[in-house]
Symmetry: C2
Subunit: 294 residues, 2 copies
């Protein structure tokens, strides 16, 4: 199977399950569920859940029992986008070619839709009674740590504080990107290692892969904000430069940024050599990130 077909197939599994999950038990809460589903079901590449499922498969496991855990990752990703787009944060009107959540449902409901998706993600994880509860508790801990104040929320606060300050330097930029994005990719892979009983060598290989795969994603994301096609991306380009944001494509030249992405991709691919053929997707995913258009 090739990469595009594999990703499409996984995306369909995930989309199909996500569409079943959030159904209001009471008519009075219908608008909240509509707002949550509006963002959750608006497409997206589903990279985080695919990464979890693919890593399990590269460990030789059946990924089917872990589909809901993968969906929980996507719920948290969706919440983070809704809150990031709010007027008090990035103030974006458009996401994936559609009006953002607060534009459609109002600011108050958008805040609640985010809160609801975040809380629901932990309920969804915790109710997987077919998973060994010790591994489940450990997975919840790792994921909450990555998504919480020490990770993604912390990164977002640092972003908010340093907005308009392009001078946070390479160290600041790396922390920003790692905590906003990389840490969640890493967590997706760590969860797969926990749930899929990875051995020490496999765990170590996957850890390094996660770090550099996340970095490749973030650098190419920054490059796309400069050279990307608005129609393919579904959002305006050039906003980082306009907002004086420190990104790999604003504090480095495009050529330097491409070089950094290539180096990170090489390290990611090298790291998972011990996993052999079963990790073909993880390898090809990194190569794809270098040439992606969205």
């Amino acid at each position: 199977m090739n990469l595009a077909a594999y990703m499409q197939e996984q995306k369909q599994r995930i989309d199909c399950r996500l569409a079943q999950l959030l159904q209001p038990e009471r008519p009075q809460f219908a608008r909240l569920y509509e707002a949550m589903n509006y963002s959750l079901l608006s497409g997206g590449k589903r990279i985080r859940p695919i990464l979890l499922l693919a890593t399990l498969e590269s460990l030789g496991k059946d990924s089917a029992p872990y589909l809901d855990i993968a969906c929980a990752l996507e719920c948290v990703h969706s919440y983070s986008l809704i809150h990031d787009d709010l007027p008090a944060m990035d103030d974006d009107d458009l996401r994936r070619g559609k009006p953002t959540n607060h534009i459609v449902y109002g600011e108050g409901m958008a805040i609640l839709a985010g809160d609801g998706l975040l809380t629901y993600a932990f309920e969804l994880m915790a109710r997987q009674t077919h998973i060994d509860p010790e591994k489940l508790a450990r997975s919840i801990q790792v994921f909450a740590h990555a998504a919480g104040p020490a990770g993604m929320v912390g990164g977002q606060s640092f972003d908010l504080e340093s907005e308009g300050n392009i001078h946070i330097g390479r160290e600041g930029l790396e922390l920003l990107h790692y905590s906003k994005t990389g840490i969640i990719f890493e967590a997706a892979i760590t969860l797969a290692a926990i749930l899929g009983d990875a051995g020490d060598e496999e765990k170590q290989a996957l850890d390094v892969y996660g770090t550099y795969m996340g970095l490749t994603f973030q650098i190419t994301d920054d490059i796309l904000d400069v050279v990307g096609d608005e129609a393919a991306l579904g959002k305006p380009v050039g906003s980082d430069a306009r907002n004086q944001k420190a990104t790999y494509a604003t504090i480095f030249s495009l050529e330097e940024a491409r070089q950094l992405a290539q180096e990170a991709a090489d390290k990611a691919i090298q790291a998972i050599a011990p996993l052999g053929d079963r990790a073909w997707f993880l390898r090809e995913l990194v190569s794809y990130l270098l040439v992606r258009a969205q």
Copy 2:
């Protein structure tokens, strides 16, 4: 020991532990942690965590191993207050006599402080490795369900939608109050029943107690918004009437509301008769709610 001394002692345990919990690992995230601690450590009655600890004790258990679970409940309560106070929600400037989070830290940081506290609560729960992981996973599930879109977040969305609509009727009012407040009290008690190995009869008794204790709390809260003392409450009174909010004190007369509170308290006390003397605190707590000033 009397009720006031017991509550004071429990509150001190909880306050002391809460003050240790949220320490930034990176200087770049210091402001976020400051914003989270600003609300988390600003006092409050700590009723939810006390309820968890006291219920465990009324089941004859040592509550010490569950202090962090109790603190997680308070983190979620604190997040809900920060988000409720936001301009897009209730737009309150004052809470417990102090400026609300967004007044001090700005709207964006206040949203993140809430997100951070909510996510951290689940990390804190999940990392209690001394607790049987099956009970832990079940506790996380129950609590996330109560706090999420089917519970507290749903209630908040219904509140937002029905703001200015005093005509939601008694049924609407009951749903609003149950899902915004009662469901969390119930969850605190259910968690104690799960963690404290309650038998079927005890579980049943505690369930009913939780429902009516929560109702007593909510009705008396509504009454305090009419007759309370601003200095004692640390917030303006009369806002429910001004905002045309449906509450027990706006759709009923004060006398009727007091009568409803008394009936709910009687049912709560009656429910836990099977628990005997060990449940003295749960009994006295309900009586105290009827006469509280804050």
